[in-house]
């Protein structure tokens, strides 16, 4: 079944220089294994094509039912230098929640 991350997750993002961090949190513990399985660094890198021009790193925080993504070279030079309206990547969290994943498991949402 196709699921948009917005249905099962919430998120917050911020910046560290030219790198954006996006924290993705499962709304319920049962969804954590789903995002852990399907929302890989590669998937996120592809999703942010045209926004993130560097690598994407993923860290797992099962205790918080969460994943943390670092998107390198994603903010147009970072904070004060960037010409972007969203120079600090504050809305990249909601941009990640747009992502649709195709899951094999049957989920009750």
């Amino acid at each position: 079944m196709k699921i948009q991350l917005l249905q099962i997750c919430h998120a917050r993002s911020g910046d560290k220089g030219d790198t954006a961090n996006v924290g993705l949190i499962a709304r319920e513990q049962q969804y954590y294994s789903v995002i852990e399985k399907y929302v890989t660094a590669d998937v996120v890198k592809k999703h942010f094509e045209g926004i993130c021009f560097g690598k994407v790193e993923r860290y797992e925080l099962p205790n918080l039912w969460a994943l943390n993504f670092l998107l390198y070279n994603a903010l147009g030079g970072g904070g004060t230098k960037s010409l972007k309206n969203d120079a600090q990547g504050k809305t990249l969290s909601s941009a990640l929640l747009r992502l649709e994943i195709d899951v094999k498991e049957k989920l009750h949402i």
């Binding site: 917050r12 949190i25 045209g50 230098k81 010409l83 972007k84 969203d86």
Partner: protein, 451 residues
């Protein structure tokens, strides 16, 4: 020893809700108020203010806020810890003492932490072979040598603990870590040792939760923002700390907002890198060890946090001048709003090219269409209006200034139904870039004074 202390968050950044600290000290019991004022490039702005006037260089809000809460703090013995001293904690301290005197509080003790500002030591450090190269890019400091505007070491909790030991009721620091402001009262009250790594990590994580103000109590909350009660009167978070390192995150009941596993989790994930190694001068905290548990309404218990020994380094936050930027906006209305804005952009670019101006980057965004999510934005039908937003960046001041003169002509020499040019010509503003580095702890020394 106290069996618990309540540390209230009063400000999440320079410019936050001015009424929050007053609400925190009046709407329920608290022992401490922590206020974070410093973002990464704030120090350079303050440095400039200090250059113009040696009595400035700190967050003036600190003084106004302390004036508001002073009688209550004295009455209830509430202590205030803030890094709003910026590049001039002494001037901030003097201003607070003046305010205290004005209101006839003559026994108020204000402590300051000095020594973080190493701008004057750059030459000496360099001579001694200490190179503050960019810790992220590896770039040599020699590349920015003459352009450095500020250089400050991030101190941790220890100097604040020292000021509290000397009976300071208000502790004003320069570049202290945001987390140190919260950890220090716990170390002081519970007598935590400098190598109680798990406890220091717990206090550090609590500090991370408080440092952004209401961002952990329902502000900017993505899970169910509409469910946050009474956001107009949002309550800032409070960390209720216990000697064993357990922490309850909560807020005053009579205020709005919400503290839940979800609001706290969002803040925990905010602006972190590798969660196994959250590095501060006090310890290295492991965010994968944090356990959260809902413990009543608007109460989240945090426990089990693991910490590791601190590193031998302080982080140094430097800023330098790196060219100029200017931004312009024009609003285009239906019909064909987007197309008209796109054509205006093309016309402008042709004209800039004809003038031979030099830029590192020109960026165009269409606000209302794609400025936030870029290529991920859904294509929409006919839109009612769109804001054309163009920014340029370059090292040639003249080019950036000339760009500003090319905007207004578009109104009469470009596509129709355009408005929104009331602010005059966009002027170049300086780009203050950030330069993070590491320095061995034994090279710098904090100094605590209590007045």
């Amino acid at each position: 020893m106290k069996q618990k202390i309540r540390i209230a968050s009063g400000q999440g950044f320079w410019g936050d809700l001015q009424t929050a600290p007053f609400e925190q000290v009046t709407k329920g019991p608290v022992d401490y108020v922590m206020m974070d004022f410093l973002a990464e490039v704030t120090m350079s702005i303050m440095q400039k203010q200090k250059t113009r006037n040696p009595e400035l260089g700190y967050a003036k809000d600190v003084v106004h806020i302390i004036e508001q809460i002073l009688p209550i703090c004295v009455e209830k013995n509430i202590k205030v810890v803030t890094n709003g001293g910026g590049v001039n904690p002494k001037a901030c301290c003097d201003a607070i003492l003046k305010v205290a005197e004005k209101h006839h509080y003559r026994n108020v003790k204000v402590g300051i932490v000095l020594g973080d500002d190493i701008l004057d030591r750059m030459e000496e450090l360099s001579k001694n072979g200490i190179k503050l190269n960019n810790m992220e890019t590896g770039e040599s400091i020699d590349n920015i040598g003459q352009k450095i505007l500020s250089a400050n070491v991030y101190f941790g909790a220890l100097p604040i603990v020292e000021a509290l030991k000397q009976n300071a009721q208000f502790v004003i620091t320069g570049r202290t870590t945001d987390t140190g402001l919260t950890l220090a009262p716990m170390m002081y009250e519970f007598d935590w040792k400098e190598n109680d790594w798990n406890k220091l990590a717990a206090g550090t994580v609590a500090g991370h939760i408080l440092e952004c103000g209401a961002q952990s109590s329902g502000g900017n909350f993505s899970a169910d923002w509409e469910s946050v009660p009474d956001m107009a009167n949002i309550g800032f978070p409070i960390a209720e700390a216990y000697p064993n390192g357990e922490i309850i995150i909560t807020k005053h009941e009579s205020l709005g907002g919400k503290v839940s596993r979800q609001t706290v989790s969002e803040q925990l994930l905010y602006e972190i890198g590798n969660p196994k190694e959250y590095i501060t001068p006090d310890c290295v905290a492991d965010f994968t060890s944090i356990q959260l548990e809902e413990a009543g309404e608007n109460r989240v218990k945090m426990f089990g946090v693991k910490g590791k020994p601190a590193t031998d380094f302080f982080k140094v936050s430097m800023s330098y001048l790196d060219g100029y930027v200017a931004f312009a906006t024009l609003t285009y209305a239906w019909p064909d709003a987007l197309k008209k804005a796109q054509v205006a952009d093309e016309i402008l670019r042709v004209r800039l090219k004809k003038l031979g101006l030099e830029f590192e980057e020109i960026r165009t965004e269409f606000l209302g269409y794609n400025s936030c999510h870029g290529p991920l934005s859904n294509s929409v039908g006919e839109i009612n209006e769109v804001v054309l937003r163009i920014g340029v960046r370059g090292h040639d001041h003249n080019s950036v200034e000339q760009f500003g003169k090319e905007i207004a002509p578009l109104i009469l020499t470009g596509p129709p139904s355009v408005t929104g040019f009331a602010g005059g010509r966009p002027k170049p503003s300086e780009v203050i870039a950030y330069w993070p580095a590491l320095i061995r702890k034994n090279v710098v020394k904090s100094e605590v004074k209590v007045y």
